[in-house]
Amino acid sequence: MPPVPTDATTSTLANSPAASLATSQGSRLAQRLQDLGPLLGLILLCIAGWVLNPDFATAANVLNVLTRTAFIGIIAVGMTFVIIAGGIDLSVGSMAALIAGAMILLMNAIGTAIESAYLVVTLGIVFALLLGALFGLAHGLLITKGRIEPFIVTLGTLGIFRAYLTYFANGGAITLDNAVSDVYSPVYYGSLLGLPIPIWVFLLTALIGGLVLNRTRYGRYVQAIGSNEQVARYAAVEVDRIKMLTYVVLGICVGIATVLYVPRLGSASPTTGLLWELEAIASVIVGGTALKGGEGRISGTVIGAILLSVISNILNLTSIISVYLNAAVQGIVIIIVAFLQRSRR
């Protein structure tokens, strides 16, 4: 493995205007401030929440918010890779729903044959992760080998995944059998050292994601492809393989999120994961990753995801604004934060 990259090597490889600009000393400070934009937004929002309702700052509420952020947050970490490499995945919500449904059906089916509920849950989890990776691989193949726009591929699978879930569920809900459900529920409701399990998984995923993106050759290739695919190709980067892998990474992240999601309600229905794709993409972009690809930060994505769930949490904790306007408030906050971290164009 080559040594830790400097900005200089990245920019030679990428040769993008954005990357070379970032190296000039003048804009460095401005860049730092912009990096802090989402964090600043989050802090301001938290202060507002605390003023509006002091219960906002209680440990229980903070843990609630972080736990429910975990699904979108984990997916958003994978989405960061896809978007930095210049792609997009619109199907993640439907994919999560289908994986959840398929996983429940599998666990119910083998639950009658296998004695140990722990083994059933383990098999279910492995199945969910594999299925996620497989869906991601299918996306990657269609996009790189099939040369179809990622927007179209994943728009197609968005419909396909959800339709199959609805079909399996007969339009209703797929519900996990009780015996398995009891063994499985600590995965969402349990805690380790005072922190709920989903928060641990979220942190771990973000940490690994950040390391891979910034400290490995693979991560640098992802950024290079997003900056300028042609140049990356000339630099002998295996563009297709790297891109394909970003979708597999995202698929596995969706699998992880689903593994945490299923024990919460023990069911999957046609409304499961609805609009998660937009929330995940918004987390990534609010967190400072460019939608056109090339640059981005996992830490920003994590903050973006937390920010989005804090908004709706505050709205639920207060009644100063008409419930009819909730979506408007969310929209305004998202735009303000995006303004705070707007990149130099």
Partner: protein
């Protein structure tokens, strides 16, 4: 599972209206082509609508060789409007049962079908111009709000703290909410702490309830207003380990909740209110049978919402339905 043909238990009112007709010998041998346009299965309730529509097709086509039923499901209002045109032009329907995706947007397309001489029965969501319909069959949204309010007021002894969840901002949700608050006005000691939208969605209801629990230290009862939302509410309460909530009142009679009620598995689930998607089956059956005899339906037919308690729950339990 779908192949099991269930004995239909028509509501009492429907029986008195149509039993005599049903027994009379068929005179009009004209073939009835009945189009059914309904929303796609995107929620437990619409899943039930689709299930019951297909069930009606199966039962009725078997019983009446002169009848053809065509079921179309649409994901949005525009698609439904297109389907209505196709049903007219391609399938040459002479009767239509439509569950409009949206009242206002579908009024004109339905009127067009009606103007061409097709007999139109509108289900659940009324058109803005009622002259475009021959008959209107609907669930009772006022009772859907009123019955839980009356039950909760009584169970709470006329006082205490209550939180409510709302569905999606629609006229249907407003009707239910107005009926609910209308009753609660007579019980000034019951405080409605807040009512937020949770989109008839389990996950959203979970989040909203978690936040209610953070915000309010004493909650006596929850009007979840939908059985899907009640699932999320119960999980959120379980997680918080709070014991102050005595009653969670759902609605619509989803099979899981009815089962819980029947078995007495959860002390917080003590009653429900019916709003069964089975009215889709009844509407198709009533329309088809009336048209086969050349009869008309009453202009408006409200299928009553009933209070479901442990005693009568088995009457509302349909284990084969997806809802």
């Amino acid at each position: 599972m779908k192949s099991i043909i269930r004995k239909l238990t028509l509501t009492a009112a429907a029986l008195t209206t149509f039993a005599a007709v049903g027994m009379a010998p068929a005179t009009a041998a004209e073939k009835v082509v009945l189009g059914v346009a309904i929303p796609a299965a995107t929620h437990g309730f619409t899943g039930g609508i689709v299930f019951w529509a297909n069930q009606a097709k199966k039962d009725l086509e078997k019983a009446n060789p002169d009848l053809k039923v065509i079921v179309k499901t649409a994901a949005n209002a525009a698609e439904q409007a297109n389907q209505l045109q196709d049903l007219m032009a391609v399938s040459k329907i002479n009767a239509l049962v439509v569950f409009p995706f949206e009242s206002a947007a579908l009024t004109k397309p339905v009127a067009e079908v009606h103007n061409k001489g097709v007999y139109v029965t509108v289900v659940d969501r009324g058109l803005t111009d009622t002259s475009a319909q021959d008959a209107y069959v609907s669930g009772d949204n006022t009772a859907f709000g009123k019955i839980p309010a009356e039950y909760l007021a009584k169970a709470m002894g006329g006082k205490g703290n209550l939180v409510a969840l709302r569905g999606i901002a629609t006229t249907l949700d407003n009707e239910r909410w107005e009926a609910f608050t209308g009753v609660m006005k007579n019980h000034p000691d019951i405080k409605i702490l807040d009512a937020k939208y949770a989109n008839w969605n389990r996950d959203d209801a979970f989040k909203v309830m978690q936040d209610y629990l953070t915000r309010f230290k004493q909650i006596d009862a929850v009007w979840a207003a939908d059985d899907d939302m009640a699932v999320g509410v119960l999980k959120a309460i379980d997680q918080s380990k709070r014991t102050d909530i005595k009653i969670v009142f759902g609605g619509a009679g989803a099979k899981g909740m009815i089962k819980t009620l029947m078995d007495g598995k959860d002390p917080r689930i003590v009653a429900n209110v019916s709003y069964s998607p089975k009215f889709m089956y009844d509407s198709i059956k009533l329309t088809a049978e009336a048209r086969l005899k050349g009869e008309k339906l009453p202009a408006t037919y409200i299928i009553p919402s009933e209070l479901i308690t442990r005693e009568n729950a088995s009457k509302f339990y349909f284990p084969d339905s997806p809802f």
